[in-house]
């Protein structure tokens, strides 16, 4: 068993709501696990499921995706596209033998700094409870 002691998280955040929410977490000095890397996209609708697969295979333990709350998307409907696409991505993860719980999708507004920090901490804890990371599995060549 290769359980990651400090899970590495990739957070892909839309620039209008969730990235601003992450900034607010900083402005308000809400501490959260340091092993999280934030990527800014214009809209959660820009997120391609391939990005998620690639990131997981390349060594991230979990992917956090967040867009604007329903009805608040700067681009009208991008967050709904993301939601539907990621629901399918989850199923695909299961098919290829990666725990779909490694992908977490949520809505975080520009005003929810505290919530962003809490979600990061919770997701980090949650990943700790999961078994081998996809990369560890790949390295050991375990056939599932």
């Amino acid at each position: 068993m290769h359980m990651s002691k400090d899970p590495k998280i990739l957070a892909v955040l839309c620039k209008w709501c969730s990235y601003a929410g992450a900034d607010l977490a900083g402005t308000s000095r809400f501490e959260y696990p340091s092993n999280i890397r934030i990527i800014q996209v214009p809209c959660s609708g820009r997120i391609d499921p391939l990005m998620i697969f690639k990131a997981l295979i390349d060594g991230y333990d979990g992917i956090l995706i967040s867009g604007c709350h329903p009805g608040d998307c700067h681009y009208g409907t991008g967050n709904y596209f993301a939601q539907r696409r990621l629901a399918i991505a989850r199923k695909l993860l299961e098919t290829i033998g990666i725990d779909p719980k490694r992908l977490f999708f949520t809505w975080i507004s520009a005003a929810e700094g505290k919530r962003f920090a809490e979600i990061c901490a919770d997701f980090h804890d949650h990943l700790l409870s999961l078994a081998d990371s996809p990369k560890a599995l790949a390295q050991e060549g375990i056939d599932r």
Partner: protein, 651 residues
């Protein structure tokens, strides 16, 4: 190979206290692309920017990474620094090592490691950046204001005074809106029409304003600076170019049973009518639903009496396309119908009326000529109960929000009633009195102290008809006992809510609305009159419940936004938009169906179906990029290679 310069900011101690900036520099200097790296106390300061400019020259740098605060704060600052040195502004990126690193990580080693990682990602990313040029778009310097209430009139007048053309659109037969229906206004008690009608006339006579009444928006295409708005004027059966507004038709019309919308349906009007005497334009319209010529095929009295030969029974709806550069939405509000409050009689009791109906009842131009009388028997009411928050702050039946204006207009109503009927008794049943405006609290005190209006804290449980009067069951929560009041008339402060077709218009305009149906501003604090759609602005109660002063403020604010837009010679749009490579496009058109803006069109090239992005319409969300199976859509700034580099640089 790219020549990257890295600039790490201390931000005083905001970054340097938790991130070892020197270590960051040392680490990234080991990367082959990095030709120069330096730290400084405040990169955003003039000396900090000078440092970057000098380094670009001295080290022939062609890509820059600034590790500092959030790009949301200072990316434009550093883009301008590059521009000043002749380097394309899209060749700089920022590593957010303050908001997303030093401020959220206490452990110095961890924070430093994270900062090195974040900067490395930006270095790997920026190598894939290409120079981009902003897209130039022309501006049509005519504004469209939708809604001719006070918020729309104010916006139109301010834009017109700024020497720009305005088309003021109104769906009813006259401009004036809700304010024209009001009698006196709080907190000064000046006559609403007396202060409004001069503005209506000014708008009508202004050389830069064109008023279109009886007209609605049907479709909107285009983008900031270049909107195409399809409008339709409904059939009014009166030729505005001939009508002289004498009013003989209205006086002679034999069909006078149509409910009068202007009075809140407490009276009737003729089938050919002007909504109120000071209507602008002073041109009547025929309501075909109640006109005998249309319903029974005979009559035509108006046609016979019209001295100007202006009646045209053959009139049809007129469509037109308007070319405008900016749109101000000022569609106002409607009063909620309290019929769902069956405990208050469900609007079946004749003397239980709404605030707006009471407003018409006390108005000198109203159906009773300003005499306060019961609708049932014409008697002067000796006791009136004003019920607050009918539909407001009531999750069970109405809306969760506070309608904002009812506390004030109720105090005004009670006060005016007491001025008309000094021996009468006025009760106000309230939950809280909200009077935060200038001189508002004093106005409430005046109602209580000078005019002896009785305020009783508690929500009314029921209203029951009892012979010729009404029994109001409520409580006085300050004393803690149930109270019963016998009253001759009840006025319900019915909630302010969005117009029933507000959502339809929002979809036509491509703007968003909140959970209550009010239009959403781009930022609740810093962009109160902008919508998320560039070039469309909000004014007045369509954005949320508002009183007159605030609506006027917002009208002027929206106008100033339009004027600063029109002050530009051309517009520059971000070049970070979608571009489709026709060769690799398979013509599946998934992107076309994904695009929220209609910014992708279907074209046929050499007999093959292809998708093409319309740069003017594209807003740069990237939704099409992620559905493209053939990876045929480029999205500079957020291209696959750029994002993948950033994601995988340090794994």
């Amino acid at each position: 190979m790219a020549r990257v310069g890295v600039f790490v900011c201390h931000c005083g101690i905001n970054i340097a206290a938790t991130v070892d900036v020197q270590k960051v520099i040392d680490a990234v200097l080991k990367l082959p692309e990095v030709k120069h790296g330096v730290e400084y106390r405040f990169m955003c300061s003039s000396p900090g920017q000078a440092l970057i400019k000098k380094a670009i020259k001295d080290h022939q740098l062609d890509r820059i990474v600034v590790a500092a605060c959030s790009p949301r704060m200072h990316l434009p600052t550093f883009q301008n620094a590059l521009l000043a040195e002749g380097l394309n502004p899209y060749l700089v990126t920022m590593a957010n090592i303050r908001e997303q690193c030093s401020w959220v990580t206490k452990d110095r080693d961890r924070a430093t490691a994270k900062a090195i990682d974040l900067v490395t990602r930006q270095i790997k990313r920026v190598i894939h950046h290409d120079p981009l040029d902003d897209i130039m778009v022309p501006i049509i310097k005519t504004a469209l204001v939708i809604g001719g209430g006070i918020a729309g009139i104010q916006a139109a007048l301010d834009i017109a005074d700024g020497e720009q053309k305005v088309i003021l659109l109104e769906r009813s037969p006259s401009i004036g809106g809700r304010m024209a229906q009001l009698d006196e206004t709080f907190p000064t008690l000046d006559c609403s029409q007396c202060i409004l009608t001069p503005k209506m006339v000014e708008a009508a006579q202004h050389p830069n304003i064109e008023i279109r009444v009886n007209t609605e928006v049907k479709q909107v295409d285009g983008y900031v600076g270049n909107f195409k708005v399809a409008v339709e004027r409904r059939a009014i059966y009166v030729d505005p170019s001939k009508c002289i507004g004498c009013g003989i038709c209205q006086a002679k019309c034999p069909s006078k049973t149509a409910p009068d919308e202007f009075s809140g349906r407490i009276s009737t009007r003729a089938a050919i009518y002007m909504p109120f005497p000071q209507a602008v334009p002073a041109i009547p319209v025929i309501d075909a639903e109640h006109c005998l010529k249309f319903t029974r095929g005979k009559c035509g009295v108006c046609e016979k009496v019209c001295p100007a030969d202006a009646i045209d029974f053959a009139d049809t709806p007129q469509q037109e396309i308007l070319d405008v550069g900016a749109i101000v939405v000022a569609t106002g509000y409607q009063e909620m119908d309290p019929a769902i409050y069956t405990e208050y009689g469900g609007m079946k009791y004749p003397d239980v009326i709404t605030g707006l109906q009471f407003e018409r009842l006390i108005s000198s131009t109203g159906p009773s000529g300003g005499k306060i009388q019961r609708l049932s028997d014409g008697k002067v009411p000796q006791r009136i109960v004003f019920v607050q928050c009918v539909g407001s702050r009531d999750e069970s039946k109405g809306h969760t929000y506070c309608s904002g204006i009812c506390c004030m207009y109720t105090a005004k109503h009670a006060m005016i009633y007491k001025h008309h009927v000094p021996e009468g008794k006025a009760y106000v049943c309230y939950i809280d009195v909200r009077a935060p405006g200038k001189s508002y609290e004093e106005f409430i005190r005046r109602a209580i102290e000078a005019d002896d209006v009785r305020y009783m804290r508690g929500r009314v449980a029921a209203i029951k008809k009892n012979d010729d009067h009404y029994r109001v069951f409520t409580e006085d929560t300050l004393v803690g006992r149930p109270v019963t009041i016998d009253a001759d008339m009840i006025v319900l402060a019915s909630a302010v809510e969005p117009n029933e077709n507000a959502k339809t218009l929002a979809r036509i305009l491509g703007i968003s609305f909140d959970a209550d149906g009010f239009y959403s501003e781009a930022h609740p604090k810093l962009k109160p009159v902008e919508t998320a759609t560039v070039g469309i602005f909000l004014s007045g109660a369509c954005q949320g419940p508002k009183d007159i002063p605030t609506s006027v403020q917002q009208g002027s604010a929206a106008a100033s936004k339009v004027l600063s837009l029109f002050a530009k010679k051309v517009l520059y749009k971000s070049p970070q938009i979608a571009e489709i490579d026709e060769v690799s496009c398979s013509g599946c058109l998934l992107c076309l169906n994904t695009c929220h803006y209609g910014a992708i069109e279907q074209v046929t090239t050499q007999g093959k179906t292809k998708a093409r992005a319309i740069s003017g319409k594209c807003q740069g969300c990237g939704a099409c990029v992620s559905v493209c199976k053939g990876k045929a859509i480029a999205f500079p700034g957020f291209n696959d290679d750029q994002l993948y580099e950033e994601i995988t640089a340090c794994t």
